[in-house]
């Protein structure tokens, strides 16, 4: 890994006795798109605010481009920030909003006008420059905020749940737009969200936060497919958790005994026999019917079938567990009450820390 562009070194932030961020270490490379994912109160927004300079760390250091910034006031940090509710200035036109950072930098009028135009064209709002923010739709306002945060070519762009107020369709469009911009301009983007789908779609890396700490950081596929903790497994996507005890383990595999007595094979680090563990299996990794070994095979009763359009969700009672299974529409739909077998591969089933 190259030298980190942004790094947090043992950064803590507490309000009174409450630790919002707890001894955080985090390194981000230039040009990276990092999402901070977590439930509200997990400290992800506070980290963003500390990076932007609106909050001061209680302890620890923050570096950007090799320079320690945590004593720098926000207006000297040269970071573009996109706020949750856009934070557009209602008394200024779209062009004035976008021109604001340039005006603050005392850029000559002609140059500024050119930049404003380019920035607005980039977000396809070139024709709206004379309107007031209140005359724009939510998505358009969001794009103005984006243009405003990018027009002064900041080194880092921070986004605090920028798409939270948009409807689903628009949100998805904007996700693609932002990713496209990121690639085109080579920006370093730190993106705070509580929407795991958004984080998975857009990021180079995702940091999952819980109680002021990073639970897991990694590529979207690592986070989704190989959650290391139960919290990550449950927070990112849907999952089935099965409790059991290690019977034996080694070579990245483990045999786990379930309370019912049956055993399953799963991917796992080396663990002592007798350790209580949880197994995480994604619903879409479970197939109906018996598969060829090596596979774990369970049988159970269909309790409910939920229609989702492109797929069905089955609710199964099996071995004292309730399991979610995603059923392909290509397969004939089972009916409630029907007994059936299903299977999953040991690679798709992960032992996670309790």
């Amino acid at each position: 890994m190259q030298d980190p562009f942004i790094s947090f070194e043992k950064v803590s932030k507490s309000f009174g006795t409450f630790n919002v961020v707890d001894e955080l270490y985090l390194s981000i490379s230039r040009g990276e798109f990092v999402s901070m994912l977590g439930p509200s109160g997990s400290g992800k927004t506070t980290i963003l605010m500390m990076l932007a300079g609106f909050e001061k760390p209680t302890s620890g250091k923050i570096f950007v481009g090799g320079r320690q910034v945590d004593a720098l006031p926000p207006h000297k940090r040269n970071m573009g920030v996109v706020f949750q509710n856009y934070a557009l200035f209602p008394h200024m036109s779209v062009a004035e909003n976008v021109g604001f950072p340039l005006k603050m930098r005392r850029m000559p009028r002609a140059e500024a006008d050119g930049r404003i135009k380019r920035a607005l064209d980039m977000v396809q709002l070139g024709t709206m420059s004379e309107r007031r923010p209140s005359q724009l739709s939510g998505g358009q306002q969001q794009r103005v905020a984006l243009a405003r945060a990018l027009v002064f070519e900041p080194e880092v762009v921070l986004m605090d749940e920028p798409l939270g107020a948009l409807d689903k369709k628009l949100r998805e469009q904007m996700q693609l737009d932002i990713r496209e911009l990121h690639r085109r301009l080579g920006l370093t983007i730190i993106f705070v969200t509580h929407d795991q789908g958004e984080a998975l779609t857009m990021s180079d890396r995702i940091a999952v936060f819980n109680h002021g700490k990073i639970e897991q950081i990694g590529k979207p596929s690592e986070i989704y497919d190989h959650p290391t903790t139960r919290f990550v497994a449950e927070f990112v996507g849907e999952t089935n958790l099965i409790m059991g005890t290690i019977k034996q383990s080694g070579d990245g595999r483990a045999i786990i005994q379930l309370p019912s007595g049956s055993t399953l094979e799963a991917s796992a680090p080396n663990l002592n026999a007798g350790t209580q563990v949880s197994l995480s299996i994604r619903p879409e990794r479970i197939r109906s019917g018996k598969a060829q070994a090596p596979a774990n095979i369970l049988s159970g009763t269909v309790r409910d079938v939920v229609y989702h359009g492109d797929h069905l969700q089955l609710l199964l009672d099996a071995d004292g567990h309730q399991l979610l299974v995603r059923s392909d529409r290509a397969v004939k739909a089972p009916e409630a009450g029907q007994k059936m077998d299903f299977s999953f591969a040991p690679e798709d089933c992960w032992v996670v820390a309790q």
Partner: protein, 393 residues
């Protein structure tokens, strides 16, 4: 279908009826009364019909003719209504001092003797044309510009031309200008204190905000006299402020803080501050919390962020606060009277004198009207200026 529409129209009419009645009773009617009191002058013509017809031909300077005196005596005999007579006396006396005593004396004399038509014999003063001129003007027309002119220190000469009143006889214009100057000063003082105050109050929360708002509302809950007495204790020569400044060695002789303009502005600012703070505060708390951080993140240092974002966005509160303070300040007169000096009298105290002291409703109405018109002109100028400001953007 048509009936439905008519019905709903009637329903909405019924719903706004209380509002319309309210406006008529408390806005239109008083305004109408004020205007008509200022310009109507029906007493002379009503009480002195004969005199009115004859005095028309009088040139205004020659000695009063016997016909005029006879007509006047007949009119006086014919007045049965004491209140009408009282109004007539007041009307004439406000144009020329002396009628208050002259009229009852004359009336009693002509009533006692139906043949007594030589008024000069009853009282010397009737030989003076100066006492007949008011009679002529009072009976000439039922509307008059006399009060309106007097409200701005003007009068009509005997020839009917508008001219300045003799110097030193009236100071309404000076008082009016002073009223505006004092009100403007108070508005400015309120703005200078109220804007940062409201910003602080809007930026804190919980008990601190309650405390700040409570403190600014306090003067509204205390009685005027208690407040004035408190200012007296604070501002007088050996009062709290002066004695502590002297004790600190900052001043050698007491600052003149009371019985002058400074005292008036301090005391009025104190009372009117809530009218500035509250509108600004309510606009400020409506401004999204993230705009100032947004400005900072875009590179605006705190002062520029304030100037470019917070200030323009609180304009609405500042404008309504300033208007509220200015308009209320225009009507203040008790505080200036008690705390001010000789040159701090406001126009409202003159209006109050005419209304309750002298029962001269015409002058009271005229001064009120002049005040209203001057205020409206200022307001229009202000609107024009702020409109241009908007257009420039």
């Amino acid at each position: 279908m048509k009936d439905d529409r008519k019905r709903s129209w009637l329903v909405s009419l019924a719903l706004v009826a209380p509002l319309v009645l309210f406006l008529v009773f408390f806005f239109a009617a008083p305004l109408y009364t004020m205007v008509s009191a200022a310009i109507s002058d029906p007493i002379g013509a009503r009480a002195l019909p004969h005199t009115s017809a004859i005095i028309e031909r009088w040139d205004g300077t020659s000695p009063p003719s016997p016909e005029m005196q006879t007509a006047f005596a007949e009119d006086l005999r014919a007045i049965d209504d004491d209140q009408l007579f009282g109004d007539l006396v007041r009307r004439l006396n406000s144009a020329k001092s002396g009628f208050r005593t002259l009229m009852p004396k004359t009336r009693n004399a002509v009533k006692a003797d139906p043949a007594a038509n030589d008024l000069v014999a009853i009282d010397e003063r009737w030989s003076d044309p100066a006492f007949w001129q008011p009679v002529k003007t009072a009976t000439a027309s039922t509307i008059t510009d006399r009060n309106l002119l007097a409200a701005v220190d003007l009068e009509r000469s005997t020839a009917g031309d508008i001219q300045e009143m003799p110097e030193g006889s009236s100071a309404n214009r000076a008082t009016l200008i002073r009223t505006f100057v004092v009100s403007l000063s108070v508005t400015l003082a309120c703005l200078l204190i109220g804007l940062p105050y409201a910003m602080i109050a809007a930026s804190v929360d919980g008990w601190k905000r309650q405390l700040l708002l409570g403190a600014v509302l306090l003067p509204l809950w205390t009685s005027l006299l208690v407040r004035t007495a408190a200012w007296f204790i604070l501002l007088q020569d050996n009062g709290l402020i002066n004695s502590s400044l002297t004790a600190l060695g900052l001043i050698n002789s007491p600052l003149p803080l009371i019985f002058n303009r400074a005292g008036v502005i301090i005391a009025m600012t104190h009372v009117l501050l809530p009218f500035m703070v509250l509108p600004i505060f309510s606009v400020l708390i409506g401004i999204p919390k993230n705009l100032m951080p947004a400005a900072a993140s875009l590179g605006a240092p705190p002062l520029r962020a304030f100037w470019n974002v917070l200030l323009p966005m609180s304009t609405r509160g500042i404008v309504s606060g300033s208007l509220l303070v200015f308009m209320s300040a225009l009507g203040y007169y008790i505080t200036p009277a008690l705390i001010g000096g000789a040159r701090d009298q406001m126009i409202s105290s003159v209006i109050a004198y005419y209304a309750t002291g002298a029962a001269n409703w015409g002058m009271a109405g005229a001064l009120g009207l002049v005040l209203l018109v001057a205020t409206l002109i200022l307001y229009t100028v202000y609107l024009r200026l702020s409109g241009e400001e908007q257009a420039k953007r």
